[in-house]
Symmetry: C2
Subunit: 206 residues, 2 copies
């Protein structure tokens, strides 16, 4: 008997997992179907029994990340019982998700044609933000302004997420605010970014 049976048994799942890992470590640019196949101990054409083409494969990997992202936001939302802080917490969660897996960001938001209007995490953020705005500005401003403020908030958070994706920016930012630089303590860095996002977001009146 050779190393593996003729049938892998779990190839589709393994390809997706290896794809995730590869993108997280190297980015999507250098990912190839053939390499993933070989890594999974299978011939270079085997993946095409499970995915129509590379694009379809990447799309499934995207969905996987999107689910993780949505779940993260959902958990943050549910565990926040202070209605005053829900947007702040959601924003921090948003930024931290991508700052912990920087290469996911460009993979999801540039290298694909996501349907922005039906993209679950965006809908979720916009819905919650809209609700919060409605509570805060109850009848004081028009529906129009509520929508504008929601968009402004979303754009700001999304922009910050991209910034904190870049190591160079993180370094510069941590120097600028003169925090104790515990470079390698990753849990400390997470907390530092957490504080930074809190400060930045609450520096504007929305």
């Amino acid at each position: 008997m050779s190393k593996r049976a003729y049938h892998h048994g779990n190839l589709k799942q393994e390809l997706i997992e290896r794809g995730l890992e590869f993108i997280d470590q190297n980015g999507v640019e250098s990912l190839s179907m053939r390499k993933l196949a070989i890594l999974s101990g299978v011939s270079s054409a085997a993946p095409y029994a499970h995915f129509e083409n590379k694009e379809a494969f990447l799309s499934e990997v995207q969905n996987y990340i999107t689910e993780q992202f949505t779940d993260t936001l959902q958990e943050t939302y549910e565990s926040c019982h202070d209605r005053q802080r829900v947007l702040l917490e959601l924003g921090k969660s948003y930024v931290l998700f991508f700052s912990q897996n920087p290469l996911y960001y460009s993979f999801i938001f540039s290298h694909g044609d996501i349907d922005i209007n039906n993209y679950p995490p965006f809908q979720m953020f916009k819905n919650i933000a809209g609700n919060v705005m409605n509570e805060i500005y109850d009848g004081k401003i028009g529906e129009h302004d509520i929508y504008n403020k929601t968009l402004a908030m979303w754009a700001m958070v999304h922009g910050l997420a991209q910034l904190y994706t870049l190591p160079a920016f993180r370094m510069m930012d941590s120097q600028k605010v003169e925090q104790k630089n515990l470079q390698n303590a990753s849990s400390a860095e997470i907390q530092r970014i957490d504080e930074r996002i809190e400060n930045i977001l609450s520096s504007v009146e929305i």
Copy 2:
């Protein structure tokens, strides 16, 4: 004599221009050195006399776009004499630049490792924004908060730029605010986006 002389005479420049045009129309994903070479009437290996590799070529194209972007911001800044509106105008200019050439956005900001801390248009925006903030909050808030507000402003504008890059979002947004939908009148659409950005940005107190 054949179609062209053995020496092209202006190959480097033509490749960059064709690269710009190709990215603007098709995105960087499907760009290949060979295609550009053939389009320029030259053999497929000729480009490598002018560029070390594909990455170096794309980097030069990036610089080209970056210059255009910086110039656009600069012109906007210089032609705005109302100190109260300078940030608003700069933000609109920022967003409009990429909404007019959507594929430039993902090409510049994802498919490359720009040195964010030395990236001219970012430095420019941050400097101007910082100065304006200093004027507005003259001594009333700390240097720290000024920096945070500057970052918040930049992130918001940058996030909006990405949003207005997506046709699906533009449609949805124009429906939401119930503007007259002059779909094909591109100059009208520019003005519409211009108004939208103005409204969104001025909906938050920064």
